[in-house]
């Protein structure tokens, strides 16, 4: 007999879809939420609802934004470098290092022919125009150092050649297959500081 109330089962099933969460820990979380005062569940539900109401993507750089433009794009004092990253989380990771003061451009992916991802699936529409608009002096390619991330950087390096903007690649001290979001801040800061011109 399944003694589990359907509502609890449903919550656990939804939680177990999160990365790194197995069936057992999802069940533990669900029971934990049930054990807290109901105000906790209410504020959790509200936070989840507000997520989609209030958080979207910046129309210029495609990073997370609460308005049409993200905080970085709204900040007129940022330097005229553009750091290209795979995901919105990478922006947050780099911002936390406190060592970068330029702009971003979030691709929302990398070139991955095996997964059917070509340049048309990345947020590259109008990228060159944006570089002109912000009068960029440097583009830093900060995609991950696995094969797809490297190939994406190589592709962008070639594609941006005609723009005349200096193109650099973050230093490859990053472990193979390493995603930026998992790097500790000092490693990330060093990777940025050690960037080199693409040939």
């Amino acid at each position: 007999m399944n003694a589990l109330p359907p509502a609890l089962d449903k919550l656990a099933t939804l939680l177990s879809r999160l990365p790194g969460v197995g069936k057992r820990s999802a069940m533990r979380w669900a029971f934990h939420i049930l054990g807290e005062p109901s105000t906790y569940a209410e504020s959790l539900a509200r936070a989840l609802g507000e997520l989609f109401e209030h958080v979207g993507f910046c129309e210029r750089c495609h990073a997370l934004a609460e308005d049409a433009l993200c905080a970085v794009c709204q900040d007129g004092t940022r330097e005229r470098t553009v750091c290209v990253v795979e995901s919105a989380q990478d922006v947050i990771a780099i911002e936390q290092t406190g060592s970068y003061h330029g702009l971003y451009h979030v691709l929302h992916g990398v070139l991955a022919p095996l997964k059917g991802v070509g340049p048309d699936k990345l947020r590259l529409d109008g990228f060159e125009a944006r570089l002109r608009d912000v009068d960029a002096v440097e583009v830093i390619l900060a995609t991950s150092t696995d094969v797809e991330g490297e190939a994406t950087a190589l592709y962008l390096g070639q594609r941006l050649g005609p723009t005349g903007v200096a193109v650099t690649r973050i230093a490859t001290g990053i472990p193979m297959g390493g995603d930026l979001e998992y790097l500790d801040q000092s490693t990330l800061a060093r990777a940025l500081a050690g960037r080199r011109a693409m040939d």
């Binding site: 797809e148 190589l154 472990p175």
Partner: protein, 372 residues
């Protein structure tokens, strides 16, 4: 390096077991289809985190079960470590000393294992695929980080092949192909360099062992075959990149037509010679067997050079395939060298070892110690 405790649950047909292997010889005796090779496979899994058999990880889990686990406590240079591999519906989980690891360790392998099985006995006769696999495993055993280079090369290769097929459908983006080709060449060159460096250090062992086994009649030789006729000895990574780049450029039109990459380390081979002639076509049966025996023993020597210790040696049913003289040579070698050995056999009369031996009976997936 040896296993002091070894256990598994829901692994293939094996009933849950926990054993304390002998630190020298472990004979796994049982009739056909009882689970002997499965036991060796479990040891191998703890070293390479994958099987030596083709197929999917999922197949390692006992029919009707969700998850298989294999565990061992290993003593390496007096230090004890544990390693556990679980095959779950969500994938493979590896823990070293109880701590989950997500990427392969860069340090020298926590557990070095050399397998000598039926596939090895035809190394000199069959196609290049088995020889490449032999080489890649041997390189991995002395340089575990090689697996990352090999994997990266494989990813670049699969992506290029996909792009070639997309091009056949009229979706050719030269800039994207060029980017993945740069990756292919960069990782391919590193794979080749590792293999070449390994061969330089391995060859002297092989030449010596082969000469010992055959009484010095004829010299055995091994060459790396790839990227055309010119020798690759002393090539740097930059040389290899340039050479690979050149053959890749030459092959591109053919590759676009065929839809796959026809050049690179995934097509390379080892050339085996006896007395300067190709072993494949000139060697006698006895010479073929001497060759593979020397290949394996030399591998143990090479690993011993690298880690200052003998790897765990897994012998899968080879005695029945070797002739009496080669088998006797193998046994003499095992007795004279050190290290932990697991040998499967249907009949222990093949195994003539004088060293300390534990016998494990394997019947219908049950492993039991033989007393006496």
């Amino acid at each position: 390096m040896h296993l002091v405790a070894f256990s598994a649950e829901h692994f293939r047909n094996l009933a849950p077991f926990r054993l304390e292997p002998h630190r020298r010889f472990n004979i796994l005796e049982g009739r056909n289809g009882q689970g002997k090779t499965n036991l060796l496979e479990a040891v191998y899994l703890l070293s390479a985190f994958r099987s030596f058999r083709d197929g999917r990880n999922r197949e390692l889990v006992a029919f009707g079960q969700e998850r298989a686990t294999v565990f061992a406590e290993i003593v390496k240079k007096g230090v004890s470590r544990t390693v556990e591999v679980a095959i779950t519906p969500k994938g493979k989980r590896v823990a070293l000393d109880g701590k989950a690891i997500t990427s392969l360790p860069d340090e020298l392998a926590h557990l070095s294992v050399v397998l000598f099985g039926p596939d090895d006995l035809v190394l000199t006769k069959e196609g290049p695929q088995l020889r490449r696999r032999f080489l890649d495993r041997a390189v991995y055993a002395v340089s575990p980080e090689y697996v990352n280079e090999l994997r990266a090369y494989g990813v670049a290769l699969k992506n290029r092949n996909r792009l070639l097929r997309q091009a056949q459908e009229g979706r050719l983006d030269p800039a994207v192909i060029a980017a993945f080709e740069k990756e292919l060449v960069a990782h391919g060159a590193r794979v080749m360099l590792r293999r070449l460096q390994f061969l330089e250090s391995y060859r002297p062992h092989f030449v010596r062992v082969f000469s010992e086994i055959t009484g010095g009649e004829l010299a055995g030789g091994i060459t790396y075959r790839g990227l055309g006729k010119a020798s690759l000895a002393d090539a740097t990574v930059a040389d290899l990149e340039a050479r690979y780049r050149a053959v890749l450029d030459e092959a591109r039109q053919t590759d676009l037509r065929r839809g796959f990459t026809s050049v690179g380390p995934h097509t390379h081979d080892l050339g085996f010679t006896i007395g300067g002639r190709p072993a494949r076509t000139y060697a006698s049966q006895g010479q073929h067997r001497a060759f593979v025996l020397a290949l394996k023993i030399a591998e143990l020597h090479r690993i011993h050079d690298a880690i200052g210790d003998y790897p765990v040696f897994l012998l899968d049913d080879v005695s029945s395939e070797l002739d009496e003289e080669r088998n006797a040579q193998l046994m003499r070698y095992l007795d004279s060298a050190g290290g932990q050995v697991f040998i499967t056999t249907t009949d222990r009369r093949w195994i003539h070892l004088t060293g300390d031996t534990a016998v494990w009976r394997v019947a219908e997936g049950r492993v039991s110690a033989e007393v006496g």
